[in-house]
């Protein structure tokens, strides 16, 4: 089965096709959820909810290569995670209207592997982590992040700066090179 056929099958509520897509992308989506909520049980629940919503709204999905499935799924997962964080009241972000984005250059960070970076991201507080994930990994602009989180653009920038500063601090503390 190819992903394209699986998408067609999912549109007909074919359970085998659904299973195929789940097997192929569930691990990656679990990692995405983990990056936001930190807790494995919550991440798994959010991943399942994301897939459930994906199958429910698959009629609207237009297949445009495997990356389109991944991008669509990731968008659903991120939305689920943000909703979860809001519901839990974990997304407490102190408003700062005026802040400039600092250019991040960190040679140590560049030399780190994926797992180390992942752990570093998980060590950030929920607010910093969310903005960092949205900006650096998902590629949203500060304007989009501000709209998504209901904060000012300046707040998004300041959160990102603080996240970077904290990461550098954590690197210094844990991996003195």
């Amino acid at each position: 089965m190819t992903p394209q056929k699986a998408i067609e099958g999912c549109k007909k509520q074919d359970r085998v096709a659904q299973k195929y897509l789940f097997d192929r992308w569930s691990d990656g989506m679990l990692v995405v959820c983990m990056r936001y909520v930190k807790n494995l049980a919550d991440a798994e629940e959010l991943m399942l909810t994301g897939f459930y919503n994906f199958y429910r709204t698959i009629e609207r999905f237009v297949y445009n290569g495997d990356s389109s499935i991944s991008a669509w799924l990731k968008k659903i997962m991120v939305n689920e995670c943000l909703m979860h964080l809001r519901k839990r009241g974990e997304l407490i972000i102190v408003e700062e209207r005026h802040a400039e984005e600092l250019v991040a250059e960190n040679s140590t960070l560049e030399r780190m592997n994926a797992n180390e970076i992942f752990k570093l991201v998980l060590a950030l507080p929920a607010g910093y982590r969310t903005v960092f994930n949205l900006y650096v990994v998902e590629g949203y602009t500060h304007k989009e992040i501000a709209k998504l989180l209901g904060i000012a653009e300046g707040t998004s920038k300041s959160q990102l700066n603080k996240a970077r500063a904290m990461m550098q601090q954590l690197i210094k503390e844990n991996m003195p090179l």
Partner: protein
């Protein structure tokens, strides 16, 4: 390549959880399937719980009016008790003969120092003032005191029987209060009068529970002389705690049968469900 770009590539390439973190993919898939099939298992338990709660409430409602007279133990050597299936609030009796003061609901009976002090409890929303007189200065009426209500056997519904009449001095609240003061003043302060519970037209204290089908007897009704003889069957009928010990449906059949026939000692009622009830009078 900037640091952000490096981080993005590293994290996007990560499609499995490192550090030995594993999760049950098959179990997760089963959960997802259940959710897609719309079979919420948790709700089944909820329905069972709700059904059990409804049944429990129904049983409680059915038992509430009939069980209260049975619960009151009679320790009085002489006095039986007068019960009308209403919850009472009963003050301790300091009677030397120590009758079982027991009753159902909404009653406040003040301590009685009467030497006869038999078990007294009635389904009346009355407050009985303390009386130090052996005979009482209030009403000279006779009071019907029943005994035998608590002698409940497993297979036999308890039927109260009137066995004795006492010259028990019982005072109506207003009169008794008035009698405490020679000038006719009630003797109550304004605060005390305010503390007295208001009563509904049925004679039940406001805020208390009264059942629709239940007739509330007032003390004056019980104590009225002309009613002592003529209304014995009526009082017996009203104060009977169980009617065959059956469910409301059967009880209604019981009443029909009782109204239709039963001229003599007992009646036999047949109903469509082939339930036979023997009434004992």
């Amino acid at each position: 390549m900037s640091t952000d770009e490096t981080i993005r590539q590293q994290l996007e390439a990560m499609d499995t959880l490192g550090g030995g973190i594993v999760y049950g993919k098959e179990e997760a898939w089963e959960k997802l399937q259940e959710r897609m099939d719309g079979k919420p298992k948790r709700k089944i338990g909820l329905y069972y719980g709700m059904a059990a709660a409804v049944v429990l409430v129904m049983v409680c409602v059915w038992l509430a009016p009939s069980s209260s007279p049975l619960r009151a133990p009679s320790s009085s050597p002489q006095g039986g008790e007068l019960s009308a299936g209403v919850a009472h609030r009963v003050a301790p009796s300091i009677s030397p003969q120590g009758g079982g003061l027991s009753a159902g609901v909404a009653h406040r009976v003040a301590p009685s120092s009467s030497p006869q002090g038999g078990g007294l409890s009635a389904g009346v929303a009355h407050r009985i003032a303390p009386s130090s007189s052996p005979q009482g200065e209030g009403l000279p009426a006779r009071v019907l005191v029943k005994r035998g209500v608590n002698k409940h056997k497993a297979n036999q519904p308890p039927v109260p029987e009137l066995i004795k009449c006492y010259d028990q001095p019982l005072l109506e609240p207003e009169r008794s209060l008035a009698s405490n003061n020679e000038s006719g003043h009630t003797g109550l302060t304004a605060m005390e009068r305010m503390a007295l519970p208001e009563k509904t037209s049925m004679g039940v204290e406001k805020g208390r529970l009264a059942f629709k089908a239940m007739k509330v007897l007032t003390m004056s009704e019980i104590m009225a002389e002309e009613k002592t003889a003529a209304d014995i069957p009526e009082i017996k009928r009203i104060t009977r705690p169980h009617e065959g010990g059956a469910f409301p449906l059967v009880r209604s059949l019981f009443r029909q049968g009782e109204a239709g026939g039963a001229a003599g000692g007992g009646s036999l009622v047949h109903n469509p469900l082939n339930i036979t009830i023997h009434l004992q009078h």
